[in-house]
């Protein structure tokens, strides 16, 4: 498809905004002005609407396709939450109004939303308090890691090592590095954190370990069965335990991470609490902490006064500062809160039950189709390997041809030709069955005709694109390459 820049016609425009204000040159000296107008598209409103409508039709989406992308929790996003977050009383509200004298009184509805979701998240996770400031999961990780570092600093220790299991998401080491910490890799055994390996790491880096970042259930979709030992080992070294909430959908209502001994947790509201992924964002990554880390939370915090009114507290002397400009991805937070209130406690617990049921059903049905390395009951997702002689990538592309989004491929790195599927609770048995049939056909076809499989997809807007040449050519804008 042509780009919108190629569709531009000089002199055309939508005339969305016109005014009789003087030209900029009459208000500012020439030396401060740009020499030519920006070369943005000149299009009618219909040109623009048609262009983006056509572009939208080139996408797969949860609303049109089964999207079992592992670790991403691509569940259905209820429509009423869009309505709620778009209410003008929220959408048009300036964040700084709450910070003006008497401004809090004019932002009570919004401050209440922030306070209310914090209370609910604390109850769900068993943590003491949450900051809503982090703007996505990885941003939450950075925040959590910074809080852990601040805890040790306040005790006068210059600890510098973060322990990270080899099965972890790539963001874990990247976030720890961004916070200035060194990464120590912890090898897993049978897909799980091995307390013996952990003890060895703690001994080797005695007095220098900030903590351990864990995903639980882990990225293989397995519950960490030796969690109590892990907690005890870390407590023994006064090192902290971080919970990566990417897989929270598996344990809603079934396990409270605070009770389990985690000190800090980030959640992905866009995963667990059903807000749309937006093609890559915006997300929201609140971070919860227990009492040990509470003093270090980012500022400001929303507080409920004795009169029942809400206000912002900026007076937090031990705070790590500000990881975002204001109070978080507010519109995303409102959607998540609306979803939580709609489901209630019972409904949230049901989410975990049916997410795990769907994953286990799918895993069982695929037993004779793919190689499944871990037989035991899985959590909300599971890993499989492409059958001997087939590539995960080819299977993924063939799924696209059949109208399914592919699972996550080649992650976790410790599984050969990995296909990691997370069906979520919102998919029906019929959809899961159809997906199994599609995979069965693909594997059969691939066995007979591997070259045919390597040519997939054939029915999509484009065939496989040459990424190597693209990286070399570097055509990153209409004006490059």
């Amino acid at each position: 498809m042509k780009t919108i820049f190629a569709e531009s016609v000089p002199g055309r425009g939508s005339r969305f905004f016109a005014s009789d204000a003087p030209a900029a040159a009459k208000m500012l000296p020439a030396g401060l002005l740009r020499s030519r107008p920006p070369r943005l598209p000149e299009c009618s409103e219909l040109d623009v609407v048609r262009h983006f409508t056509r572009l939208s039709r080139l996408n797969y989406s949860v609303d049109a396709n089964f999207y079992p992308l592992g670790s991403c929790t691509m569940k259905y996003n209820p429509k009423f939450t869009e309505y709620v977050a778009g209410l003008p009383g929220f959408a048009r509200l300036h964040p700084l109004l709450a910070q003006l004298g008497r401004g809090a009184a004019r932002t009570q509805g919004a401050l209440r939303c922030l306070h209310e979701i914090e209370v609910l998240l604390c109850e769900i996770t068993g943590m003491e308090a949450f900051t809503l400031q982090p703007m996505a999961g990885a941003n939450g990780e950075f925040t959590g890691v910074s809080l852990m570092a601040a805890y040790h600093r306040a005790k006068g220790r210059a600890r510098a090592k973060m322990l990270i299991p080899d099965s972890a998401h790539g963001t874990n080491p990247a976030s720890a590095a961004l916070a200035g910490l060194e990464i120590v890799n912890v090898e897993s055994r049978d897909g799980m954190v091995d307390p013996e390996a952990l003890a060895a790491c703690l001994a080797e880096h005695d007095g220098d370990v900030v903590g351990l970042m864990m995903t639980c259930p882990n990225t293989l979709g397995l519950m960490e069965s030796r969690l109590p030992e892990i907690v005890a080992l870390l407590r023994g070294a006064d090192a902290l335990l971080y919970y990566d909430g990417a897989n929270m959908n598996a344990i809603l209502g079934k396990m409270r991470v605070g009770d389990a001994g985690f000190d800090v947790v980030h959640l992905n509201l866009h995963k667990t609490f059903a807000t749309p992924h937006g093609g890559g964002g915006p997300g929201s990554g609140p971070v919860g902490v227990n009492a040990r880390l509470l003093p270090f939370l980012p500022a400001p915090r929303v507080v409920k006064g004795e009169d029942g009114d809400f206000f912002l507290n900026d007076n937090l002397p031990q705070s790590i500062g500000a990881v975002g400009p204001f109070y978080g991805s507010f519109a995303v937070i409102v959607k998540a809160l609306a979803y939580m209130l709609r489901l209630g406690g019972e409904g949230l617990e049901r989410v975990a039950e049916y997410a795990v049921l769907n994953a286990n059903y799918l895993k069982k049905r695929l037993q004779n189709v793919l190689d499944i390395p871990f037989e035991r009951i899985c959590a909300h997702e599971f890993v499989a390997s492409a059958p001997e002689g087939l590539r995960a990538l080819d299977i993924a592309k063939a799924l696209l041809d059949r109208g399914f989004h592919a699972p996550t491929v080649y992650f976790p790195l410790i599984v050969r030709e990995c296909l990691m599927a997370e069906p979520t609770e919102t998919e029906s048995k019929q959809t899961l069955d159809a997906y199994v049939e599609a995979l069965r056909e693909i594997v059969e076809q691939g066995g007979k005709d591997p070259a045919g499989l390597a040519a997939a997809p054939l029915n999509m807007p484009v065939r496989r694109l040459d990424e190597t040449t693209a990286a070399r050519r570097m055509a990153l804008t209409e004006d490059m390459g």
Partner: protein, 443 residues
């Protein structure tokens, strides 16, 4: 069961396939002592009840006020077509384009967004966006730190203090320090910024218009930074950028912006997006997602995520950043907004805001004791010195239904009487007259 399609019969069938008796048996791996006794959460509610609850909360917020509040975040008119297009669920219920063949809509939109941002800034290339203007500033600073292997960031004090606070938070654990160059009466000290870089300086960081609304030309500052092999980083306001001298023309290495004013509602603080553009020579230091043009075996043009060797899922602890994705839907909104306004519409918005700001300054400085903070050229935002603490004046005006602007004293000790006032298309001459009258009654 809301959003769960299973019938009781299907549940039985599925449990039988899995080989367990009940749903709770699926959680047998969680140590029993870690299972919560019960959750103290409210009961679920119907959709209509939830909607009406939020309607009541939204109605308690003061969006009916006459507002001149900006400080880096601005109320602009957004074409309804932006909502309609970004509201297409083919865009908003997709995820980051891991499978390029079924994500060409998102990928081409990112490519077009990168083109639009690059052309607005007159820089070679741009990424697919980061979280917001503050993280964009931090990421730009880190590009400089990595490329120069130096550790001092020279920052103009007139860079938005909200983003400077974020910058300080983000570098707290790193061997990087900030050297702040004081502003004078809201004016960036160009000579001090020219003199600041030395052999330890990784970057000189400025903002145009600066926090106080002052417009300047940073060409000489950047030339001097280059002489010392330091980066030049500039943060801009995208709407004013339609008319102002560009980062490219000034010789910046990296240009960033808070993209909120391009098609994003204020949303009480988010989600927003950070724009990042740079010179070609720095592309491998640029963090985040980048889309590039590619071809398929039939020679058909398509788009892919490219240069992924910079990213966390490949490089893990050695990545350029920990960011996994981008603010894709916000970037789509920004792109659609720019296309619907065009170069013409964006420039008219900038000019209207500037004209209104001039009318407001004229009207308000006719009040006794109110004067401009300085005589420098300004955009759509200006700082005024009041004869009383701005916090108090603002609080009293909020009671009367006016938000007169932002009292800067909390961020700039000694400037307690200074009020920062912004104008955009949402402000009418009648608003200015109303504000002047209300303020006149108070002073």
């Amino acid at each position: 069961m809301p959003f769960i399609p299973h019938t009781p019969r299907e549940v039985e069938e599925m449990l039988a396939v899995v080989g367990v008796r009940g749903l709770d048996d699926l959680f047998a791996d969680i140590p029993p002592e870690m299972r919560p006794a019960r959750l103290n959460l409210p009961k679920g509610q119907g959709e209509a009840a939830v909607c009406s609850y939020f309607e009541k909360l939204a109605a308690r917020n003061g969006t009916d006020m006459v507002s001149f509040l900006g400080a880096g975040f601005y109320a602009h008119d957004i074409p309804k077509a932006v909502d309609a297009l970004a509201g297409r669920s083919e865009f908003y219920t997709a995820y980051t384009p891991y499978q390029a063949e079924c994500s060409q809509g998102t990928l081409q939109a990112i490519f077009e967004f990168q083109t639009a941002v690059s052309r607005l800034m007159e820089m070679d290339c741009a990424n697919a966006s980061v979280y917001d203007g503050g993280t964009a500033l931090f990421e730009a600073a880190m590009m400089a730190v990595r490329a120069t292997r130096r550790r001092v960031l020279v920052v103009d004090e007139a860079v938005n203090p909200i983003w400077r606070k974020m910058l300080a938070t983000y570098i707290a654990g790193l061997p990087v320090s900030l050297k702040t160059v004081p502003q004078k009466n809201g004016v960036s000290d160009l000579q001090a910024l020219i003199d600041a870089p030395d052999k330890d300086c990784a970057a000189v960081i400025v903002q145009n218009p600066n926090f106080f609304g002052v417009v300047a030309d940073y060409t000489e500052v950047f030339a001097k930074a280059r002489l010392h092999k330091a980066f030049s980083v500039i943060s801009v306001y995208p709407v004013m950028q339609a008319v102002l001298k560009t980062p490219g023309e000034m010789g910046a290495d990296v240009a960033v912006a808070e993209g909120q004013s391009l098609g994003q509602p204020l949303n009480f603080g988010g989600p927003y997006l950070g724009l990042m553009a740079c010179g070609k020579e720095h592309i491998r230091q640029l963090p985040g997602r980048i889309a590039g043009r590619a071809s398929d075996p039939d020679g058909k043009t398509g788009y892919v995520l490219t240069l992924q060797a910079r990213e966390q899922h490949i490089r893990r602890g050695k990545a350029t950043s920990n960011i996994c994705s981008n603010q894709a839907l916000c970037a789509l909104r920004a792109l659609a907004h720019l296309c619907l306004l065009g170069p013409e519409g964006l420039a008219r918005q900038a000019e209207y805001g500037m004209d209104m700001a001039r009318q407001a300054v004229r009207r308000l400085t006719s009040l006794k004791g109110v004067e401009p903070l300085n005589d420098e050229p300004y955009g759509n935002e200006a700082a005024l010195r009041l004869p009383a603490p701005a916090e108090q004046v603002a609080a009293a005006l909020v009671e009367k239904g006016f938000v007169p602007g932002f009292p800067v004293g909390r961020y700039y000790p000694g400037m307690e009487n200074i009020l920062l006032l912004a104008c955009t298309e949402v402000n009418r001459p009648g608003h200015i007259a109303g504000l002047a009258e209300a303020m006149g009654d108070l002073l």
